[in-house]
Symmetry: C2
Subunit: 480 residues, 2 copies
C-alpha cells in the first residue's frame, strides 16, 4: 500500500480526518473506537497486575528538563512551547498579548518521566512506599518534521507506564511482566507478528540504560516500532533525587522503568492486514463484528421474515462481546453495501434473502479470505459457537498471513553489497551481525537509510560492515 | 470545611498532589479512580443514547478563534499559547530557540467548538449526515487566576459533548436528553442535590444562545456549578459555514448544542459529603466499598479463621461491582486503620475478631452515620442482599442530608438589605426575583459578590434590586 492509498483508505473508512494544523488529526468515531478497544484490553491486563492509573499535568516547566539534559536531548527539536497566557482582541483581530509572557516557559509533555519523578521525590520516603506501579492514558505532543496519520502524529494518544522499585531485580521483573502483557496484546489481540529485542546505544530512549522494542514489518517492506520498554536503572532517581530508606535504614535510590505504546498501533493494523478491498480488522478489536445485509430487490414480501431472523441473531449475541450491525437501508443497493463494509474491514458479513429464508440457512462470508459458509439458524447454540469459531479463525489466519509475509521478507545477509541492494529495492528485515560500534551504525544509516531495529540475540558472527568479530545478531530495517 | 482543611483532606487521602506549576495538579490513583468511575457511568449512558466518542486535536490555530470573536472573548485572559517549537542546550542550560517561532500561534483548547465545527464544515453536506452526536473525554487548559484543587484547575479532565441537528426541535430534544442523563448521574450516582435553570445573559457561555446549568451548595455556603448544557442555535454553524442540503435540496445551517462536566465534580463530592472525620464517598463511585479489618491483638490463634471468613466474603462479591479491601497488615493497630479508612470515606467497614468468630456474626459499620450492624455470614445470599441494601441506604442518606442542608440554606428574600446581610454572613442560596437587566446583575455582584446561579422559573414578582415587575425567579449565590 503506498502512502496515498493508505491516507485514502483512512479517510474513506472514516477512521480519521485532517485538521488545520500539519500532523494533528481528528479521530472519528470508527477510529476512536478501535483505540478504545485496544485501551480497554491493555488496561484490564495492567490493572489485574496491580498497576494503577494516574494523571500528571500536560505542561512541564522548562526547568524540569534542565535537570537531566541527556534525557531531553532527543526531544529538543520537536517541543510545543507555551510562552504566553493572554490574547488581545483589537479591531476584530486576535493578537498574543506581549505583556502576558510567562516567567518560565512550559513544555507540552513529549513524555512524562521528568514530572513524574520530580513528584515522587516528594512522595517516596521509605521502602514501604515502593513499588510504584502506575500508568497514564494521555495525549503527548512531538512536533515531528515528517508526519503520517497514526504512525507519526504530532499529537498522539498513548499509554505511558512508570514503575519504581527497591532494587534492580524487581525492576527487571517488571520489565518481563510488561513484555508478556505487550506480547499478548500485539499477538493475540492485534494479530501482529513481531520481533523483540534490545535497541542499540544510538537508538535507545534517551535517559534509559537500555530499551527493548517490539518491531514489525508492513506490506511495503518498511519496519514499524510497535511498543517500547525502558530500563531506566537509577538514572532518573539520581537526577531527581528519588530516594528511600531501606529496611536497614540506609538511604538508596529508586530503580525505575517506563514503557509505552500509542495509537500508532492502528496504523500498523491498517498497513499489515489490509488488502486491495480495504481494511481487515482483527475481530478482537473490531468495533463491529458482523454486518447483516438484507437482499430483497425491492420486493417487500420477505422484509418481515428477514427482520425476524436479524432479531434472533441479535438475541443470540445479546450482552456478549459480539457487535452486530444491521444495515437495512433499502435505498442503497446490496452491492454498494458489500463494497462499503469490505472496505471497513468488518470480519463477517451475513446476507439474508429469499433463498436464505426458504432454506433456513444463512450465508456468511469471511472478510479475510471471502470463504462462504451456510449456517443453520435453527439451533442457536451451534450457530453461536460456529460464528465465534469463525472469528477466532480470522484472528489466527491474518496473524499467520502476516507472519508468513515477514518470514518471506526477512533476509539473512552477510554481504554488504547484497544488503544495500535489498534495502534499496525490496525493503524488509535484514538479519545480520553488527560490531556494536556507533560509527558503523551511522555509516550504514547514511549509506542505506536502514537502521538497526533491535538486537535479537547473542550469537557469534562477523559484522556486515566492518567484518569484525561480534556477538550481536541484529535486525535492520527502514522505518517510517 | 475551610480551604485549608479541604486541601489537607485531599493530600492526606492521596486523591491528588501539587505539581511545580500553580493550578496544575497530579491525580493520584485514588482520585483518578473516582474520575474513572464517574466517566464510565456517564459514558455508558451516552453510548446507549447513540453518542459516539471522538478525539479532536489539543492545539487550535489562533485564526480559528478569530472567526467567532464573541465566543473566544471569555477565554482570552486564560489561554496557554504555544509560540515556539525548539529548545537549545547551551552550556548545560536549556533555552527556547528564537528561530523556532511558529508562523501561527497555537492555543491549547479551552473548549473545542471552534475546531469541531470548522472540521464538520467539511464533513457535512446533506441532511443524511445529521445528526452529529459526539463526545470527547479530554484535557483542557484555562489558566485561571485563582485556583482550587478539583474546583478551579488550570488543566482539568472533562467531557465535552457536541451535537448537530437539522432543526431547532431536534436540538432542543438533545438538550432534554442530556439534562436527563446529567440529572441521573448527579443525583443517583453522586448523591448531589442540585438546582437547575437557565443562566442569565451575563453568565451564559459565550457563543451560546442560552445555557442551562446544574448548581449546588457546599457546606460553607458557597455555590458550585456542576455541569452546563449550551444551546448554540445556528451561531457556530453560521460562523464556520456548516451547512447541509435538506430533503427539498435547500441549503440550511446546522443547529448545534454542546455540554460538559469535569472532574470538578470530585471537588463537589468532597465539599458536600465530608464530615469532621474525612471523606464520605457515594458508594456508586467509591473505588472501595468495603474495608475489612481484622482485630486480633497480636494473637495469631484466630488469624486463619479470620482469613477464611474474608475469603468467603470475597467469593460472595466475586465479579460483582462491589470492591473489597482487606487490610491485614498486623503491624498497624486497628485504631489507626479505622482512622485512615474513615478519612478515605469507604462506605462500609467490617471488623472481624475473636467475638465475631465465636458468634458467627460480623460487625459492620456505616461510614455515613456510624450505625452498627451484626450480620450472620452463614447464609451468604441474605448477607449479600443486606450489604447491597446498606450501600443503597448510604447512597440515599447522604443525598437526603445534603438536600436538607441546601433547603435550610436557601433563603426566600425580597429585601435587598436582608440579601446583603445573608450573603455577607451565612452565604447559601437566595431565591428571589430579578429584572433581567445586565446593570442590575453587575451592581449586585459588585456590592455583594453574589451572582445569579440560574433562572429557575417564570413567576411574577418584583426585582430585589430595582423593584421593577419581572417574571424571572432566580437563585443567587457566591461561587468558588
Amino acid at each position: 500500500m503506498n502512502s496515498k492509498d493508505y491516507i485514502k483508505l483512512i479517510i474513506d473508512t472514516k477512521l480519521a480526518f485532517f485538521s488545520k494544523i500539519k500532523g494533528f488529526y481528528i479521530l472519528r468515531p470508527y477510529g476512536y473506537k478501535i483505540w478504545e478497544n485496544i485501551k480497554n484490553i491493555l488496561n484490564k491486563m495492567l490493572i489485574k497486575n496491580k498497576h494503577k492509573n494516574v494523571y500528571f499535568p500536560l505542561l512541564i516547566p522548562k526547568s524540569l528538563f534542565n535537570i537531566f539534559n541527556n534525557h531531553i536531548n532527543n526531544f529538543t527539536k520537536e517541543c510545543a512551547i507555551v510562552t504566553h497566557s493572554r490574547l488581545l482582541i483589537k479591531n476584530n483581530n486576535i493578537y498574543v498579548d506581549p505583556k502576558s509572557k510567562l516567567n518560565e516557559e512550559l513544555i507540552i509533555r513529549p513524555t512524562s518521566e521528568t514530572i513524574i519523578w520530580d513528584t515522587y521525590s516528594k512522595l517516596i520516603q521509605s521502602y514501604k512506599n515502593l513499588p510504584i506501579l502506575i500508568n497514564q492514558w494521555s495525549n503527548v505532543v512531538r512536533l515531528e518534521m515528517k508526519n503520517k496519520m497514526f504512525i507519526r502524529n504530532s499529537e498522539f494518544l498513548w499509554q505511558e507506564g512508570h514503575s519504581g522499585h527497591i532494587n534492580k531485580k524487581e525492576a527487571i521483573k517488571e520489565i518481563k511482566l510488561i513484555k508478556k502483557i505487550y506480547k499478548k496484546l500485539i499477538k493475540n489481540y492485534l494479530s501482529i507478528p513481531f520481533i523483540f529485542g534490545k535497541k542499540t546505544k544510538l537508538e535507545k530512549f534517551s535517559g534509559s540504560k537500555f530499551t527493548y522494542s517490539f518491531e514489525t514489518l508492513t506490506k511495503n517492506g518498511k519496519s514499524i516500532q510497535l511498543a517500547t520498554i525502558h530500563f531506566l536503572a537509577k538514572n532518573f532517581s539520581k537526577f531527581f533525587n528519588v530516594s528511600f530508606t531501606d529496611k536497614k535504614n540506609k538511604k538508596k535510590y529508586v530503580w525505575s522503568t517506563s514503557w509505552g505504546l500509542s495509537m500508532r498501533l492502528i496504523g500498523a493494523i491498517i498497513m499489515i492486514h489490509s488488502d486491495k478491498k480495504g481494511l481487515i480488522l482483527p475481530p478482537k478489536i473490531s468495533p463491529i463484528h458482523i454486518i447483516i445485509i438484507p437482499i430483497i430487490n425491492n420486493n417487500n414480501k420477505y422484509i418481515k421474515k428477514i427482520n425476524n431472523i436479524v432479531k434472533k441473531i441479535k438475541i443470540i449475541f445479546y450482552k456478549s462481546k459480539i457487535n452486530i450491525k444491521y444495515d437495512n437501508n433499502l435505498n442503497i443497493k446490496p452491492g454498494n453495501k458489500f463494497y462499503k463494509y469490505e472496505k471497513m474491514g468488518i470480519p463477517l458479513r451475513i446476507t439474508i434473502g429469499k433463498r436464505e429464508i426458504k432454506n433456513n440457512k444463512i450465508e456468511i462470508i469471511r472478510r479475510d479470505n471471502f470463504k462462504k459458509y451456510y449456517l443453520d439458524i435453527k439451533n442457536i447454540f451451534i450457530f453461536k459457537k460456529k460464528i465465534l469459531k469463525l472469528l477466532k479463525k480470522i484472528q489466527k489466519n491474518i496473524y499467520n498471513k502476516a507472519k508468513k509475509y515477514i518470514k518471506k521478507k526477512t533476509f539473512k545477509v552477510n554481504n554488504y553489497y547484497l544488503f544495500k541492494k535489498i534495502m534499496s529495492k525490496k525493503g524488509g528485515f535484514i538479519m545480520t551481525y553488527f560490531d556494536n560500534n556507533n560509527d558503523t551504525e551511522l555509516k550504514i544509516k547514511n549509506e542505506t537509510k536502514a537502521t538497526i531495529r533491535c538486537i535479537i540475540k547473542q550469537e557469534n558472527g562477523k559484522c556486515i560492515y566492518s567484518g569484525k568479530k561480534t556477538n550481536k545478531k541484529v535486525i535492520f530495517g527502514k522505518s517510517y
